[in-house]
Symmetry: C2
Subunit: 333 residues, 2 copies
């Protein structure tokens, strides 16, 4: 658990894209994003108030989040200087960088000296149990994809936003670095030891109110041979009541695998449902989420309409056209 | 890679069952098992020559393998004394205990002083790659089970023995602690970090002669919700050409999961084949291996015959009745 709210550290970001994590926090948890900290040369701007460390502290920020990718895989000296000052000022630090904060002796020393925490969200901080498969109260939705990086996190976040607007009980459950920084907690599933993968997802989605929905961020794909095991741990650890199929229709091959063609949505539906029903015989596929960013609007709408006819399921691009259809489908369960 | 041959350390084993690992080595790699080392009170006996450390060294043993479970999760003082002497005598140590050799400061110090290695086979010693899904030369068989602990390791080992007797090229590929100690190498898959599971199996089963078979030890089950992700990583990382279905027919529920009924062999066949063909469209299910230890001989034979009729596949208990049928089926591919 990372203490909120945040001061977003944009460092010397060379462009807006490098500050993707900060953008995600600002888009999905604006109440956590009280201000931004930029260094000379920073080319990213979240449109938040620029704050000094002291100003951010006075405004109530608890954690400085590294919301930017570093260059060349090194945490530069100029960054370290700011991060040490932040610890001295009383902030915890949180980061999803490959280079861990905990591997920087200066930061470890300062954190100890000032009694602050270093959160490296790529590394599990919990001893997860082995999954026991027991049925939990409350409901769960899992986003499953035809491939990696097709919009599973955005689908779950869009659904959460729509459900909260409708005053439904819903919690996005992060399973990757960006999602964990956005929400302040979650499981870095790709870094969990094999035996504990499914158990970590049971831990993440415990008993809840009967009308509460956990919206579980998907990872990988059952059809992506590099990461399929991670995906199946989500399907069985999450015991979803509802699956939403996620797809990016313009992709020529599976991400990182030039010899592999993405499966059809029909194949994904059949395989995912078959496996999900091992953990929850009542599981249903309720809808389709398409990432249409590479399609014109008319093309996208026609594609979605055609899909609805072919699969008999509501289909939308929740980021572009809203998640209403998907939430309607959940509400009907 | 653990240096062979071995001196098998039986310690003060309270009974034969506690020395299961030593028994496995003696059964499957008798050429590695030159002698045994027993302490006062030891109730296990592999029928091997009892040797002092000096005698074993003179006989050519390279590694002292802890072939016995420890009591109460503690490496006792009397064990540590022997293990330090073994390091001083020039042996490496290998162990599959939950308590790691590397967590005993006295052993770490002695290993350093005498220039020897400590192999804790529960812990990966290699930085595995992420799977790339490329087709490798040579052939691969994977044992998949309706449940955990149904005889997948024994199935692969029995097949290897039969294939070597027929002068076919075959290598058992260990994916668990016992298998690694038996053969001297392998991947402790349940301890590998999620993102690298499938890659570790590609690493374990590299390019080989076109007529060479890797016989890959299975883990878990696609239907066991605690470990199914580990199993799918084997299916996709192994890219098997042949699957052998493994089953234990007398089990009332899935191991450790009282609420879950084991799947039928038909379900396992269909789901495993569907998923395996993502990685290798030519994959076939070639036979069935049944653990009949809880059945009388006539009952077992009748059960196997009935299965052959129902599934149209050769069925045997390879440990009890030989692996001939399964090897015939592989030879026909």
């Amino acid at each position: 658990m990372i203490d909120t709210p945040y001061l977003l550290f944009l460092g010397d970001a060379p462009d807006a894209l490098a500050a993707k994590v900060a953008q995600g926090i600002k888009d999905w948890r604006p109440e956590f994003a009280l201000g931004q900290f930029r260094m000379p040369g920073c080319k990213a701007d979240m449109g938040l108030q620029d704050m000094t460390l002291a100003e951010a502290k006075a405004a109530g920020c608890k954690t400085l989040v590294v919301g930017v990718a570093n260059r060349g895989g090194v945490i530069s000296e100029s960054w370290v200087k700011v991060l040490v000052e932040a610890l001295a000022e009383g902030f915890d630090l949180a980061s999803g960088l490959h280079n861990l904060l905990k591997d920087e002796p200066v930061l470890v020393e300062a954190a100890l000296a000032f009694g602050r925490k270093l959160h490296d969200v790529r590394v599990p901080e919990v001893d997860y149990p082995i999954a026991n498969g027991k049925k939990r109260s409350g409901k769960r939705m899992l986003a499953v994809g035809t491939d990696c990086s097709v919009g599973k996190m955005y689908t779950a976040l869009c659904m959460e936003k729509e459900m909260r607007a409708r005053e439904m009980k819903a919690t996005f459950r992060a399973t990757g670095q960006t999602g964990i920084l956005i929400t302040g907690n979650g499981v870095p599933l790709d870094a969990v030891v094999a035996d504990f993968m499914a158990g970590s997802i049971e831990w993440l989605t415990p008993d809840n109110d009967p009308d509460h929905w956990d919206l579980i961020e998907g990872q990988g794909s059952l059809f992506h041979i590099s990461y399929s095991g991670v995906t199946l741990a989500l399907v069985h650890g999450g015991q979803p009541d509802a699956l939403v199929l996620c797809h990016e229709p313009t992709r020529p091959h599976m991400r990182g695998l030039p010899d592999y063609t993405p499966p059809t949505l029909q194949s994904l539906r059949d395989v995912a449902l078959l496996l999900a029903r091992v953990g929850n015989p009542a599981c249903e596929v309720v809808g389709i989420s398409v990432n249409t960013q590479h399609m014109g609007e008319a093309e996208a709408l026609a594609y979605l309409q055609a899909l609805e006819g072919q699969l008999g399921l509501p289909a939308t691009d929740p980021f572009r056209f809203g998640a209403g259809k998907l939430v309607d489908a959940l509400a009907a369960i």
